[in-house]
């Protein structure tokens, strides 16, 4: 067991390093560098001035040199400066990360709080048509594009209630109400996918559990159905849900990237996109690494939890 954990943990570091090298190289594959983007297609600079500007931004030297400069800084916590405004990348990320994390957390919350009861209900009422209904609902849920849903929600709230979410980001510590009213629509948009998966998951495991012998025995003994459901079945059925949740964080992070654009939230996803369009190499590298680190860590934790729950896995 511990060998399993150790092996998985040890793999994290080489993976991160590999990812950092891959990103570093790919970023420099981009056509056009930051000077091109900033100048636009309107003005020209002489090659000497361009070289000078690149040097000013630390873009001179061979790839190996540049990578070494970046990596050695990174392990000390210095992720370089954004080439657009010379701000330290680490502080930019520090400001952006909580926003995305809050969004992902809220979405997960909604998905679980709505998905689990739905799954339970649909498992418990097992008549033929509701079987189809549940499946169809689940399939629809995973088919809706989050960015479309977000637009529809915005349209709906503005038409039906005359309400639009606040325009500028407010920290939850400053004004929780305004913050939540800004996050509710984006969180809802990306939660639907996960909600559908959770619902199907819960339904599936509940069905499995409910058909087991000890449940039938309890029913036969006259234990009220509801107690059976909540005491025995649900507890067992929830275990795989926990692991699903872990995996879904990745999906939610991806979804967050898109809805941040729509709702103007300055989170990591928004940051990554802006960085790509402005060829802001240090920011692209750092943001990608951050997302990778978060995601890998989450997966690792989930794998470990899974290993505990199902020792068969750890052996294989």
């Amino acid at each position: 067991m511990y060998g399993y954990v150790a092996k998985r943990t040890l793999l994290v570091l080489p993976t991160l390093i590999g990812v950092s090298i891959a990103i570093f190289l790919m970023v420099r594959l981009l056509p056009g560098d930051v000077i091109d983007v900033l100048l636009g297609a309107d003005t020209q600079v002489t090659p000497e001035v361009r070289e000078q500007a690149r040097k000013q931004l630390g873009l001179d030297g061979s790839y190996a040199e540049q990578y070494w400069r970046w990596a050695s800084g990174a392990v000390q916590g210095d992720l370089g400066d954004s080439v657009r405004n010379a701000e330290p990348v680490s502080s930019i990320l520090r400001d952006a990360a909580p926003i995305t994390l809050e969004l992902v957390f809220l979405s997960l919350l909604i998905a679980v709080v709505v998905g689990v009861p739905l799954g339970v209900v649909s498992a418990v009422r097992r008549e033929g048509s509701s079987d189809y209904l549940a499946r169809v609902a689940g399939l629809i849920g995973v088919s809706i594009p989050s960015f479309w849903l977000a637009t529809l929600l915005l349209l709906f709230t503005s038409r039906a209630f005359g309400w639009v979410p606040p325009l500028t980001y407010v920290s939850p510590f400053d004004d929780l109400g305004a913050n939540l009213s800004q996050f509710i629509l984006p969180a809802l948009s990306i939660s639907v996918f996960t909600m559908a998966i959770v619902m199907r998951m819960v339904r599936a495991t509940m069905l499995e559990v409910l058909s087991q012998d000890y449940v039938r025995t309890a029913r036969a003994k006259g234990v009220p159905r509801r107690r059976v459901v909540f005491r025995h079945a649900l507890r067992n059925a929830l275990i795989p849900v926990v692991t699903v949740v872990g995996f879904e964080v990745g999906v939610l992070m991806s979804g967050a990237a898109i809805v941040e654009i729509i709702f103007g939230l300055p989170g990591i996803g928004n940051l990554l996109l802006q960085a790509i369009f402005s060829r802001d190499y240090p920011l692209i590298q750092a943001t990608t690494m951050l997302i990778a680190a978060i995601f890998i860590t989450f997966n690792l934790l989930v794998d470990i939890v899974y290993g505990f729950l199902d020792p068969r896995i750890a052996g294989g």
Binding site: W148, F247, G269, I296
Partner: protein, 312 residues
């Protein structure tokens, strides 16, 4: 992440699709029609078929040029323009039809890339095992370092935002799923006793493995392809929406949704039609995949859509 077996009912968010329990898949029993036990799969097939027809024949039936700015801008839906016109006076219906072509093309090619790459990787890793396997699996692991769509964004963004690069990006992102299934199947087959004896007799172990592999892998691969076609189309829409895929002025559903954002309060139909198209197509593929899974092994029970970390 290694190829370990997960319990059959475990719902995966990360691209693992039935049949996860490899040994549960019935071999060679693909009598389709008798096994359509629910209409969901049929509905899905109908939707997908309709979409393909629209993509192939749409421009011949509805002859307006999607790029031509012939009409007045921002007209509401009418007989002349059933989906209205957009901000430059182009017919939205024609653009939605063109978007269908774009989506199917991107979907097919990226799944094709993933299929081919996954097949090669899976075959090599499973057959040769050892160092080759370890290396290839590390490579696949690295692709799991980022959530699917984020990886697609990074790849498409860094290769340069074009439709071709979006196809490559999506293809790369879904390759691991194919690779794993193939590898799992190969490993299974490799465990059969007669493989050893076949090799002892001098016959090419590889060919023997293939002969035993192919009939067994057909069904799951079909399900995989169907499911990921929906996924790929959704990803293409997302990338275009972000400006990283098909570039304007070419019509693509995601791109149309993006430009429609600015006009959503006064001209909502510009958002409604392309978005509905995306949802319908993805739904069709998901329904179809669900139905196919049903045929292959009803015992597997209700799976999740298997829809995938990549797509949102």
């Amino acid at each position: 992440m290694t190829f370990r077996r997960r319990p059959v009912l475990a719902a995966e968010g990360v691209g693992e699709v039935a049949p996860t329990a490899w040994s549960d898949v019935p071999r060679g029993r693909l009598d389709f029609l008798g096994r359509w036990r629910n209409p969901i799969g049929l509905v899905g097939a109908a939707i997908v078929g309709f979409n393909v027809l629209v993509a192939l024949f749409g421009p011949f039936v509805w002859r307006i040029d999607p790029d031509e700015q012939a009409a007045e801008r921002l007209l509401a839906p009418s007989w002349d323009n059933p989906f209205g016109t957009d901000e430059l006076g182009r017919d939205t219906l024609a653009r939605v039809i063109h978007g269908a072509q774009v989506s199917l093309q991107v979907g097919a090619i990226s799944v094709g890339i993933a299929f081919a790459a996954g097949l090669v990787i899976g075959l090599l890793a499973g057959y040769y095992r050892g160092v080759v396997d370890a290396l290839l699996m590390r490579l696949v692991d690295m692709m799991f370092a980022l959530p699917g769509l984020v990886l697609a964004i990074v790849i498409a963004g860094l290769l340069g935002p074009t439709r071709t690069n979006a196809m490559i990006a999506i293809g790369i992102v879904i390759t691991p799923a194919f690779a794993r299934v193939v590898r799992g199947a190969v490993l299974e087959v490799m465990g059969y006793p007669f493989i050893e004896s076949g090799r002892a007799l001098g016959a090419s172990g590889f060919r023997i493995m293939l002969r035993h592999l192919l009939p067994n892998i057909g069904a799951p691969l079909i399900v995989l392809v169907t499911t990921y076609l929906g996924t790929a189309i959704l990803s293409e829409a997302a990338l275009s929406f972000l400006g990283l895929g098909t570039q304007p002025p070419e019509a693509s559903w995601g791109g149309m949704l993006n430009t429609a954002r600015a006009y959503v309060d006064l001209y909502p139909w510009l958002s409604i039609f392309p978005g509905a198209a995306i949802m319908l197509v993805v739904l069709g593929f998901n329904f179809l995949g669900d139905g196919l899974r049903d045929i292959l092994d009803p015992r597997l029970g209700p799976q999740t859509g298997g829809h995938v970390a990549t797509q949102k």
